[in-house]
Structures are given as C-alpha cells and as structure tokens.
Amino acid sequence: MIFPFLSGILHPLRAPMTYFLLVINLFVFVATYDSYSKTDARLNEIMEDDRYLETQGSAFADMIEREPEHFSETLRTMGKNSSKSDAEMRRMLGSLAFRNSAFMSSAASFEFSGDDVAIASWKAKFLEVEELQAAHPTFKWGLSTSHPGWMQYFSYQFAHSGWDHLFWNMIFLILFGCFLETTLGGSFVIIGYVGGGLIGALAFSSLSGISSSPLVGASGAVSGLMGLVAFAWMGVDRIRFFYWLLPVRGYYGFALLPSWLVLIVSFVPDLSGYLSASKEFGSVAYSAHIGGAAFGGLMAFALKRGWLVRDVDDDDWDDELEDDVDRDERERRSKRDDDRKAG
C-alpha cells in the first residue's frame, strides 16, 4: 500500500481555502441528508426488488427490440438474449435500464407488449422511482440526463452519494489541498478544485456520455489537485508518500518519492478502468477523474511557463519551487529538533 501523504493534515488556519471547500462539501451533505435518507432507502428497496428488475429487464428488452436504433449493439444483443435466458440476465438488463436515458425518459409512456399484469405492477413502481429521483438530492445536484444544466457542472462537485464516498474524497482533498495551499497558495486550490471538477464533468459528458444515473462527488475536482501536484513537482522535487509493504519494522513509514508515482497509483488505474468499462455498465466516473487530472496537468504546465505566477522569472521557477519545498522541509526538521531538545 502506498499513497501520497505530502505535508499531511495541517491546521485549518494554515490552509483556510482547503478547509473552506471541505466545509462546503460537508454542509451540502448534511443539509441534504434528510431528503437523501428518506428517498434513498425506498429507491434502493425498489432497485433491489428481483421481481421489479426482472419485469424492467423484460420491458427494456421489448423496447430495444422494437426501437433498436436508439440502443448500442451490446444492448441489442443482450435484449435478444434476455428473452430466452434466465431470470438473472433479465435482472441485469433491468439494472442497466436505470442507467439508460432512452429507456428512463420514455418508459412511462411506452406501450410495452408482454405480461400486462406484471407491466401494470411494474409501471406503478416505475412512476414512484421517477418521483423519488426527482426528490433525491444526488439527482438534483448531480449531472444526469434529467438535470443536464450548467449549474450541475458545478454543483455535482459538492454532492456525494454516501458517507464513505464523502469521507475518501475529503481525505484526499485535505492531503493535496493543504500541501498546495502552503506551497502555491489558496487560489491554486480553488482554481484546481473547481476547474478540475468542471473539466472532469466535460470529459465525462464527452467521453462516457451523460446517463440517467447522476454524476456526483468531488473526485473529479480532487483529481485536478492531484494532477497539479503530480505534474508541477515532476522533475522538480520528490514528494512525501506513506508506504506499508510488510508488517515488519523498517518496511513501513514515509519516503520521498518522485511525484509521477501519483500518476501511477491514481490515474493509471483510472485510465485502465475507463478503457475496460463498457459504456453501459460502468459505475465509477473514470473519465471525470482523467479530465480533472488533465486540467491539473494544464495548470502545472502554465505554472511552469510562468503564466500563473507574477514576479517569478520562467527560468527561476524550478529554483523557487525547490526553495519552497526546502524551506518547508527545513522548518519541519528544525521543529522536530526543537521538540527533541524540549523533550
């Protein structure tokens, strides 16, 4: 296990912008938690109901068969197979139908031909799903075919689909935000976050396509910060990582390693996730992460060219950055020495 630890978790006063972003994320989550918990439980209950999924799968297959031009080749073949395969295949198709905008937008009024009794019962629940989604905060704040407005390109960066989702994104926001804020300044954190999120959403909509399943989470935005660190420090200086190889003393701890390792441990898996996931089945927005990281790379490029920092000569940039890092390291060492002496 290895992950960038950088300057660690700093006091809020040393990284106010980072903590400002953290507070917004927390505030949005807490403020929407009530409507989230009310709608999410029922929505999950319906989405996990086998009978509902089977009927939805059969209905989806029926729609694909009758209007094949709206669906991909993969879905067309799956639809054909589902009618003569087992219930599991129909359930899978039913789950995929939730992500398919063509199905979700027209299913309520579509005249399905099949088990009319099952369809009637399914349709009643489907309308309930639509109502629940309309009231669900991740659908309101997230970027989806039902909410594709420009506002959602920003608001999705502050909405999360659960506590665990929020927790991990905030951990990485603090680690990278604090480091950037103390080295480059708070404005880089804000621009990196919002710009990374925006470009991430644009990359998602152009590479993966907006689906009826909403895009939410700060991961695209945090990827912007991670990309900025990875590219800006590349060839300049090493950054601090925490590693844990074996549960034996000497095989875990901190190490100064090249910043490109961030790309290896974070963005290469994203790239392979994007390349290996089929458009219809992916649940992680890999393309949003890649887009965010690309924005971070662009910022780093601009930074190194001196376009983003006034009063710093292009040629002196590397030295300046090295000085900053060295100063931080010196401060840390002298603090440690002081502590030892005091101890």
């Binding site: 059969s58 129909r90 899978m92 088990d115 009794v117 099952a118 290896i264 290996s276 089929s278």
Partner: protein, 677 residues
Amino acid sequence: MVFGHIPYDEIPNNDSRASSTKRVAPELESRLASPTDRVAAFIADLVILVPLITLIASPFRRQALEAQLLENSEGWATAYFLGIGASLLAYLAYQTIFLTLWGATPGKRAIGIRVEPLWEDRRKPRALAAFMRSFAICLEALCLGLPWVAVFGNVRRRPFHDRVGDTVVVAVRTNRAAGPPTVAEVSMASGVVAASLFVFAFLLSVQLVRLKSGMDAEALIADLEETGGLCAPVGDAYRKWIPPSGEEKPTRVSVALTLFQAEEIDDECLREEAEFSLWGSTDKATGYLARGLSESNDSDVAEEYFEKVCTTEPDSDACKAVTILDTPEVSEDPIEAKTAESDRENVLDAMASSLDSSSAPYLRVLFVKHFESQRRDERVLDMLEALPPHRALAYFVSSERSRALWKLDRKTEARLAMRATTEVAEPAQRVEVTRWFCDNETMSSGCSTEAKAACDLLGAVVDQNEVFLGEAGTAVTYLRGESCSERLTEERLSDLEKKFSNDEDAKSYVKALSSLKKDEILEATRLLREIASGENKSGPFFIEANARLTELASSADELKGVRDAWSQSDPTQAGWGFLGRRLMERYNALKAYSETVSVGTKLAENDGIDRLAARPMIVATYRSGQVGRTLSYLEKLGQVPTLESLTRDRAPASDPDSFNEVLFEILSKDQSRERAK
C-alpha cells in the same frame, strides 16, 4: 566484479541443500539479500506493475466482460487468454528491461537489493539471462510460488528463477544482508514444501471430482443453449411431444402447464416458461394462466393473472381452465349453495364432454384432479385414457389410474397399475405411490398378503434411501408396514429403535409395536396414548397412534378418547379423514350405529364419503332406521350388486350385520315390495 575471483572448483557444485560440509564464498555469504527484503521488493514492484498490467490488459477485460454478458463463450475465452498473454508480456518486459539496465527492478532499488550474475564478471545480468529469469518466475507463479520457498533452503538463497538465470540476489548494503540459511530455515522450508504438496494433491483430487460432476452440468447447459429453452424438463418434453394425428403440437407453455399440473415441474420452472411465452407474445392466454398458477404464494397476483386470461382470449382452453380452477363463493343458504354447486358441476361436465383431440392437454389433467376431488373416479379414468401417452406424464397417469381403480373397488387392477407405476417412477414418486397403497391396503384388510406386498415395496425403497424417513408420514406408513412384516423380530425392533433414535414419537411407536408383538396390550395402549396426548395434535404419529388405539378398543366406550381427539383436531390436516374412517368402521364393527352415523356425518361434511366409506354408513343408517339416508349412500356405491350375485356369494355363517348381509336384506325387501305392487 563480485565473484570473478572465486576459482570455479571452489564453488559448490550442488547448492540445492544447506550443509555444514559445504561452504559459500565468504564475500558472497556476507552479501546475500534477506528473504524479507526480497518480499518487500516484490510488493514494491507490484505498486508499479499492477496499474501497468491492468492498463495493458484493460481492452481485453472490456472484450471479455462484453462477451460474457452476451453469452459469447468463444469471445470470452479469446479475450481472456489474450489479456493473460498481454499481462505476461508486460511483466517479462518490465523485469528484463530493468534488470538489464540497472541490475534491479524499481522495487529492488527502493529496498536496496540487486540481481548479479553468479558466474560472470558483470554487475548486471545479460538481457537473455534476465529474460530467462523472468520467464522462470512466471512458471513459478503457475506452481503458486512454491519454488520461491528455496530462498530459505538453498545455500545461496537461489530459488528456481535464480538458477535458470544463473543469478544471485544480493544486498547493496552489507548491513542488510542475511547470510546463508540456518538449519531452522532449511527445516521450515522443507516442511512448507511438504505441507503445500500435500494440500495441493488434496485440492487437485477434490477439483477432479468436481470437474467430473461439472461435466454433466455442462452437458445440461449445452442442451439448454441448443434449444434456447429455460427449463430443461419442459424443453425435453416439448421436443418429444407427439400430437394426435392431424392435430397441431401444443405450445411450449401449454406443455409446461401440463407438466406442472402433473407435478413434474415446480412453480419456478413454470414461471420462467410463462414469462418466456408472455414476453415472446406466443400463446398469451396460456402464458397468463401459467403465470397465475406459478404465483402460489400471492393469491391476489394470481387472481389478476386469471382475470387476464379470459379478457385476452375468452374462448380459449386457458379460459376453460380458469373456470375449472375457479372456486366460487359458497352461499350461506344451503339450498342455494347446493344448486350453485350442481350448476357448476353441470357446466364442467359439459365442458369435459366437449374435449377433443385438439384440446390442450393441461385441461384433461385439470379435469383428472377435479373429478378426483369430487370422488368421481369413473370420470378420472376417462380423462386419463384420453391423455397423450407421453413419457413425462407416465407417472402421473399410472399413479392416478391405480388410485382411481382402487377407489372403484377394482383392487386387482389397481395393484397391477401400482406395480406398473413403480416401474416408471423416480424413488420419491415410488415412495409416494407405495405409501398410499400400504396405507389403504392395511386400512382395508389389516396385514393381508396384499397389504404386506404393498408395504414391502415401500420398505424396499426406503431401506435404500433412509432420507425418506425424515418425512413423518412416510415413517409412520413404513412402521405400519414393518408391523405387518414377518421379519419384525426383537432384533429388527431394536434396529428400528436405533433408526428413529432422534424422533421421540417414532421411538415410542416402535416400543408400542414391540409391546403388541409380545401381547402386552396395556403397555402398548399406554405408549400409544402417550403419543396421542403429545404436543403435535395433527401429525402423522398422532393420527397413527389414535388409529391403533381404535383397533385395540373392544367397546364403544373405549373409543371415546379417540373420538374426542379426532373431533378436536383440524379437519384440513392430512390424515384426518383416514382416522375418521377408521373410527367409523370400528364403531360399525362394534355395532355402535348411532356413533357410526355421527362420525360418518362429520366426515361427509368435511372430507366427503367415497365408495369404500359408504359401506359402513349404509349398514349403520339401515340398522338405526334411517332408511332415507341409506338410499343416498347406496347411490355413492355406483353400481350396486344384484340380488342374484349376492345370493350366490353369501357365506353360510356370515355376520348378519356385515355389509353384504345388510345389502341382501335391503334388496330382498325391495324385490318383495315390487312383487307386492
């Protein structure tokens, strides 16, 4: 250069085992990398390797995933193996390039160890040696990394891959070096290898057994894929279904419904077939009917489907089936209720008569069940005759026929039909049919030769597979059969007690049988009363204990306890009718006619009276002066013997209260009355 100065003849020629007699060159001994460092370096390499390999294999992963979803097994296998090949190439390239360039992979460099050629005057291995070493690591992975354990056992800590590449792994800094393995390490390595080989051999044998059984499953899947079917028995029956000449083959869902009614497939199987039919828009009316029947747990949903059948196709056979299945509300007014029931029967009779060779086969199966419930066994036989001779229906037709013949008092034919049924039945079905016959034979004639024969057939199946004894009903009948058997010795009884050691009721019942065998009637009665007064007031052992107590009673007063227990038990429970009939017959045998009529009336209200049960009621009602009721029970007999045949068959010293004597008396009076007219 590290080892160049060591003369060749000083280098041990066999380094596979640590030995006190062999010495490693002192300089090398002081530089060998520790196994912990090597493991840590491997994990550090994974930090880079795993994302890179995942990236390279990702297009193949996507292809494999899509092929799997599309059930394209060939495409999946191709993508899967290409993915593995690409990953292996990436690994080989990573190892070869870094070892050739740096003498260490990034992970090794980070930890501070490196790979050096053993025999050459170089600090880094040549490309070919690095490649061969990496390839050997891949082979080691196939053996679950077991050869790597040699780092603890080999004198130079060289596992298979180091020996293939003629390399040795050394620490960059001597203070991290480990030296040659100790005796404890060597012993541990040998132990690990031996234990791993043992576990591997065990898992391999388990896997081989699984593979063998898996091949059968694969054949089934292949069959399903070939037919495009969902439920294998339905697909099989559908393919082999031969329609009557000139008629069309029934639809697949119609075949499924027939098999379901014949209890050859379960409701899950029927549901899949129904959905296949409904969403494929073929024979939708039958599809709705099948879907409704598959919803046995939710009567509201089932009702919705049944309603849909007749709105989809009002004149279809499926709609007729709904009429048969429909249970109309019973009016509170008994006359109205009787009229409604009679009208319904007339409608169903007309419908049954109108069936022809083009009618759906499930209709006949439904009518078999309907007439069986109405105790109209002649009609049951008619319907069975008209069912197509299909292998999948063989058990249903044969078992129903044998039961109907028995109820029609054509016992010899029934026994032959039962024997024919056991030929076509699965073990569980054999248990079902032989159990029914053992029950009825013993009830009708005690431990007669025929009863013993039927019970022996049950015993033969159950003895082969004792899992059937887990079902209390089967266990009771099995024990009843045993009680008739000549082989019921003390030794056999003790075996039975052991066999049922976990079931208190069964154990007490075996003890009661043992007491009866020794003519200890009081002890047997005590044990049977103990079972009858137990917690389970409706289980098979409760019924059986009461039935046995009925047999042991010598006066009507002694039957009071059994009668009270029977009256208080639930009439819908299995065995209730059986106990009621035993009670009625026993009262009749004891000439307690008012009690016979009372029990018979309650039985008729709740369970109905068939031809066999009508006999004691005819005797009891006639002897108690209820002649009107006698005539109504005479109707139940169907074909009444003639006076001539009764006169011919009368035994010289027969009981004047026996059925034949009473019938003779009734018919004689009738004839006298006719003559007087």
